[in-house]
Symmetry: C2
Subunit: 413 residues, 2 copies
């Protein structure tokens, strides 16, 4: 007779058989050792969380509407929050979205899960950047999508590759369902997609009849330069959907985001959300709504931008100061967001380097984690939002020393 | 050229093409008209929400650990909450569960979504009661499970039918993945599964190598009689998984539940949760944990039980007083929970009756909504937790008058 784990394993779906513990999350555990300076996380800086304001806000919510905030709420979301979001998008992006276009979700990750569900049957192809956001890769993998990759350079995703893929798949009579992009200060690379490429990509979506999924977690965290218009504001036909979150604008602990999509699809998204969690926490929606209603969001975003810009500058300065010159090491110069991307010489492997880095008390995320095809062996992601200014300088110094040491050893062979 | 909604509809997955607006939720909108006494909801009574305690709790959380509560948290859940839950299950159920057996989820609905995901590929069969919880039907439908129904009577699900199904499917070499039951004060029927049937059902699970999924939202809300042991406490092999929620024990607004499962499966559930929402709101977990840590949960549950028992008594008394005798109308006598189930004479249709009931300013849920195969035309679900005591008496009077009127008309033909 089989023992219980075997019996249970036999019952698993194909999807869950394919699920494996993320090695990246295992590596992250290593980075929690004392004394390690970690550039590996993706956390917003918690020292800026507006805790006193939130205390006051929750107090007033529970006084005024506690029985509603603690009860079930509509699947679509709190109508007051939806109304605020429509106005916010008009004001900050000049985008006209009606309340029918907005669905409140339990964090941007849920948006990825729902968008995946409503478009993808197992094996259906979609286009995704190399590299791309790890949570998107996991969401699309969990529904057994056929991910097709297009490389990024400093202008963002390569649109010619996207066109080649669309042409090839159309020739095979296979329908690409959507292109997934993080156009602004991409996670992990920090690069921003140029206006020219945005326009071309949108034309391709029209031409091939596919959806453009635009993920915008960092868009409002711009340190310098002019904003490039959102796909949603370039799009006059309704092919561009956008994903938004309060996790980086306010804090992640309330798990709150929203999707903007064509009305006909918004209904499907709502129907897909209902069996996954009925509704997003009404208490959390009230908290965030009240924060916004009091007009606190803009000032709060300015504070974040100011701090992260300073941290990015320190990181860039440290890289320029400590990294060996002429060694072929390259990094991006993000104009916003939380991350910066390093490309090592071809013959170096960021995965092999990782345990040595931990030994030297500095950590990053191995770039291959962000490539669904496991390419990108010589790349790494550094986060500058969470570590302190002193840690950034010291951590880059440690990393640069390690790389110098590696370079001197490889040059011996 | 196609217009945009058509282009988008062409891109939809099979799953989302199958999603239709729940007619039940459309009907529920009708019940929100002024003056209507609604037995249609499934809401806990919000007048009992411990708002003052929660105000104090949130204040202290934000003071002591605001930066943690508002940050991302581990996918598995807050380890303090998990530890509390293990102790709570030991104390209240005598069940030994280690912390490895527990996964915190964003409400019991997410548990259904995740359990579905890890076991079911499209077309895979599972066994579910007729009637059964609507949210479970929706969750299993959204992953295109092949639901196979077993009728309920006043002892709960018919175990002989379950055995027949298992035998038939085994003969066809088709693997039933699990049996889904709400053993205590079932939603919608209010019935409790007898000990004898629980023991037999568990034996069948062992014999056929399938999982028993036990959903327990109302279990702690027992008004009278002795608790029947949970499957989890009868099971010595690890085949029984259980789903729990704070929605009915405390309030739904924090969207918080947990799953107890074999360790080997708990890992898969955690991996399946990660791409759906990364983690359950750490703020909400802190709130509920602190409420429990202060020892407030037990007293709070007693208060709910006392009130709901009183309301159930009023409903049963009103049914006995107002419903026509000898007409073949029958109702269940739930020993706990939130719902009671009415069976009308065979020739009456609760769906056809519904608009007339709304006209008479009383509402219920049509029983067929809880049958995935749309059977149960002559049944209805009544909720007694939410309406006031006066509303229950008056509402049952209105419903009984309508039924009397219908009976007198049908007897004319």
């Amino acid at each position: 007779m089989k023992n219980i784990p075997d019996v249970l394993q036999d019952l698993l779906s194909l999807t869950s058989k394919g699920l494996v513990r993320s090695e990246i999350r295992e590596l992250l555990k290593l980075t929690r050792q004392p004394g390690i300076i970690s550039f590996a996380g993706g956390l917003p800086y918690s020292g800026l969380f507006p805790i006193e304001e939130i205390k006051d806000i929750i107090h007033s919510i529970l006084d005024k509407e506690g029985e509603i905030a603690l009860q079930y709420g509509p699947t679509e979301g709190d109508s007051r929050l939806i109304e605020f979001l429509a106005g916010w998008m008009k004001e900050t992006e000049g985008v006209d979205v009606s309340e029918d276009n907005i669905l409140v979700v339990s964090g941007a990750q849920q948006a990825l899960d729902l968008i995946g569900k409503i478009f993808i049957d197992p094996g259906d192809p979609l286009i995704i950047g190399l590299p791309s956001y790890l949570g998107a890769i996991q969401a699309f993998k969990s529904i057994r999508a056929n991910m097709v990759g297009a490389r990024l350079d400093k202008q963002g995703i390569n649109v010619e590759t996207v066109e080649d893929i669309l042409r090839t798949y159309t020739a095979k009579a296979q329908k690409i369902k959507f292109v997934y992009v993080v156009p602004d200060f991409q996670n992990p690379s920090g690069v921003t997609l140029s206006l020219e490429r945005r326009e071309r990509l949108l034309q391709l979506c029209y031409e091939y009849g596919i959806v453009l999924v635009e993920d915008t977690p960092y868009r409002d965290l711009r340190f310098e330069g002019e904003p490039v218009p959102m796909f949603r504001s370039l799009d006059e036909k309704g092919y561009a959907f956008s994903i938004h979150t309060f996790s980086k604008l306010l804090f992640p602990g309330t798990r709150l985001g929203w999707i903007v999509a064509d009305k006909s699809i918004q209904e499907k998204l709502t129907m897909a959300k209902q069996p996954t969690d009925l509704c997003t926490s009404p208490l959390n929606q009230s908290i965030v709504y009240e924060f916004c209603r009091r007009g606190l969001l803009k000032t709060h975003i300015s504070n974040i931008v100011e701090l992260y810009k300073k941290k990015r500058d320190i990181m860039i300065n440290a890289l320029e100061e400590y990294m060996p010159e002429g060694s072929g090491i390259d990094w991006t110069h993000p104009e916003g967001g939380l991350f910066l991307w390093i490309t090592l010489p071809e013959n170096m492997d960021a995965g092999e380097l990782f345990p040595k880095a931990v030994e030297k008390k500095v950590a990053y995320v191995v770039g291959s984690a962000f490539h669904f095809d496991r390419s990108g062996h010589n790349t790494m992601r550094l986060n500058f939002s969470y570590p302190s200014e002193e840690q950034i300088d010291e951590g880059i110094k440690r990393l640069a020393n390690l790389i110098k040491q590696e370079l001197s050893q490889t040059s011996l062979f």
